[in-house]
Structure formats: structure tokens, C-alpha cells
């Protein structure tokens, strides 16, 4: 457990109620609350803004339509015509990560994407789903994904394990990237916030100004990481269709 004034204290999980199912701890925590808020914000925003369905959209309706177009474009660019089926999945994933990151930017609000178990669970869903998709599309031929054509036969015992490791490393790199970016950014903010108090006289204004700039950068990273998560999901779906 982090010390009282540690910059890592913000990542502490605080259970609001003690609930156990069998040997599993399924308590409702601040992380769960944050996720519920995220889902509520997404649902309310999207349903309320597109509700008027006006031909000339209001500004808020335009934001919803922009988000829709952004992911639809991403899917058609990377996957092509096959991609339309996966729009609901990729869009939900993108919005959950994006709004989760943004909700985390509100002071005193918990950032659930800064916990590797959350991002790894999301990445594992993508990874397992894409693997099943590959088997559905290609059957047993999916294993040729690990077989590189045009290589001397005696190289295959070396190359196939390498390809398999490369494939298995996908969910890890996907989850670590999102989690580490959020963790590092939020820790950095708190460390600089500590400098504001610790520095003498009015020199504390310097780190304070830096925090303002850093917050802007964090919002950019929050968006960029959601985008990276979505685009990599699209690329993996594409791989499940076109093996090489």
C-alpha cells in the first residue's frame, strides 16, 4: 500500500462494499464506479445528442457523428468491406478507453485505465476474439499464419516459435502501452504538484505552469492511446482475414 502522500496513492483501489462470490472478491470499488460513470457518460451523451436526428446537426450531434465517422473511416481504411461487421465492437472499445481516460483527467477522479488488469482484460478480449475469428475464417489453415513462405525448410523450426511468440506478445504490448502511458502521465502530474508545495517563496508557480501544460499533453495522450488501441484492433481483425 502506498504511503500517505505518495504520488502513487491515486491508484489505490478502495472497495465501497465487501462482496464475495465463492472465493472471488467482487466488491464494488472506486475503479468500478469510474467504469460505471464512463459507460453512463457515453450512453447518455450519444443517445441524447443524436436524439433530435436533425438534418442540420447541432454542435453536440456533430461531435457524436464525428466519432462515428472517425471509427467507420478507420475500419474501412484498415479492414475494408469486411470491417463493417466489427464497427459496434471497435466503437465500444474506443469510446470506453477514450472516455475512461478523459474521466480520469478530472481531478480526484480515479483512472481505471491506469491498472494493467483492466487494459489486459480489454486486450485479451481482442486477442481471443481475433484468434477465434481467424479459425472461423480459415479453419485449420489459420496455422499457416505462423509459416512464412519462401524460406528454406531448415529455417522453419527456428522461425515458427519466433512467429508464435510474436503473435502471443500482441495482447501484452497492447495493454502495456495503454496502462503505462496513463500510469506515467498521472504519476508525473502528482510529482510536479508536490513540487508546487515544496518550493520556496513564489518559485512554486513554475511547476504549476508546467502542470497546466502537462495536463494538455495528458489529454492528447488520452486520445492518442484510445486511437492506437482502436487502430491496432482493426489491424488484428484485418490479419484474421488476410493471413499474409
Amino acid at each position: 500500500m502506498a504511503a500517505k502522500d505518495s504520488p502513487l496513492k491515486q491508484f489505490e483501489i478502495i472497495p465501497y462494499s465487501k462482496t464475495e462470490l465463492g472465493s472471488y472478491d467482487i466488491s464494488f470499488t472506486n475503479s468500478s464506479l469510474s467504469m460505471v460513470i464512463t459507460v453512463a457518460v457515453i450512453t447518455l451523451f450519444l443517445t441524447l445528442t443524436v436524439n433530435p436526428r436533425s438534418i442540420i446537426p447541432s454542435r453536440l450531434q456533430l461531435i457524436s457523428e464525428l466519432m462515428y465517422n472517425f471509427i467507420a473511416q478507420l475500419l474501412s481504411d484498415t479492414v475494408g468491406d469486411n470491417g463493417k461487421k466489427y464497427f459496434p465492437f471497435v466503437f465500444s472499445l474506443f469510446m470506453f478507453v477514450l472516455i475512461g481516460n478523459m474521466v480520469g483527467m478530472i481531478p480526484y477522479q480515479f483512472t481505471f485505465t491506469s491498472h494493467i488488469i483492466v487494459t489486459f482484460a480489454l486486450a485479451a478480449v481482442v486477442f481471443i476474439g481475433v484468434t477465434i475469428l481467424g479459425f472461423v475464417n480459415h479453419g485449420i489453415k489459420f496455422f499457416t499464419f505462423f509459416y512464412i513462405p519462401g524460406v528454406p525448410f531448415y529455417m522453419h523450426p527456428l522461425l515458427i516459435p519466433i512467429e508464435v511468440i510474436s503473435y502471443l506478445s500482441r495482447p501484452i504490448s497492447l495493454s502495456v502501452r495503454l496502462f503505462a502511458n496513463m500510469l506515467a502521465g498521472h504519476t508525473l502530474l502528482k510529482v510536479f504538484a508536490g513540487f508546487v508545495v515544496a518550493m520556496p517563496f513564489f518559485t512554486g508557480a513554475l511547476p504549476l505552469a508546467f502542470i497546466v501544460a502537462l495536463t494538455g499533453l495528458e489529454i492528447l495522450i488520452a486520445f492518442l492511446q484510445a486511437y492506437v488501441f482502436a487502430i491496432l484492433t482493426c489491424l488484428y481483425i484485418n490479419d484474421a482475414y488476410h493471413l499474409h
Binding site: Q73, D77, P161, I162, E163, I165, S166, L168, S169, R170, I172, S173, V176, R177, A180, N181, I221, L224, Y227, V228, L235
Partner: protein, 93 residues
């Protein structure tokens, strides 16, 4: 045929409409730190998987420490392969 001319015209109109409908994908330029981070996670992820497989192999086949050594090397190579693929994807854009 009379319709040939009309069809040709229609085809041209569809083509121009399709071109104007699909704007060139504007990829955002990432900053250097983000790029370096992306590359390093690829290597680390492959190494983690390689070491994990190595440890599992050692535990169940009792080949300590050769499984770990071999799969660590495989993991390292897979990491470089991942980086190579990321670079090739970026160059294509």
C-alpha cells in the same frame, strides 16, 4: 448501343463521387517519446512472452535452464521482428 454513352458518363460521375467521398487518411504525426515508447513495448512484450514460455517449459519438462535460455533468445528475436513490422507499417503510410 445508345446507352453506352450514358453509362460511361454515369461511371465517370460515380468515380469522381467516390474519390471525393474518401478523403486521404490523415495520419497524425506522433512525437518522439510516443514513438520510442511504442517500439520499446513491442520488444518488452515479446521478451516477457519468451521468458514466460521458457520458465513453463523448464518447470514441466525439467530442462532447467536450457528452456529459459532458448526461449529468451527466441523472444528477443521476436521482439526485433515486431519492431521491424511496426517500422514497415509506418513507412507504408
Amino acid at each position: 448501343m445508345v446507352d453506352d454513352d450514358k453509362l460511361q458518363q454515369l461511371k465517370e460521375r460515380i468515380d469522381t463521387a467516390e474519390i471525393s467521398n474518401s478523403p486521404p487518411s490523415n495520419q497524425k504525426k506522433e512525437n518522439g517519446a510516443g514513438f520510442g515508447f511504442k517500439i520499446s513495448t513491442e520488444i518488452i512484450a515479446a521478451l516477457v512472452v519468451g521468458v514466460g514460455i521458457g520458465l513453463i517449459v523448464d518447470k514441466y519438462l525439467g530442462t532447467k535452464p536450457f528452456g529459459l535460455i532458448i526461449f529468451f533468445i527466441f523472444g528477443a528475436i521476436a521482439g526485433f521482428l515486431n519492431v521491424y513490422r511496426v517500422m514497415r507499417r509506418i513507412e507504408k503510410q
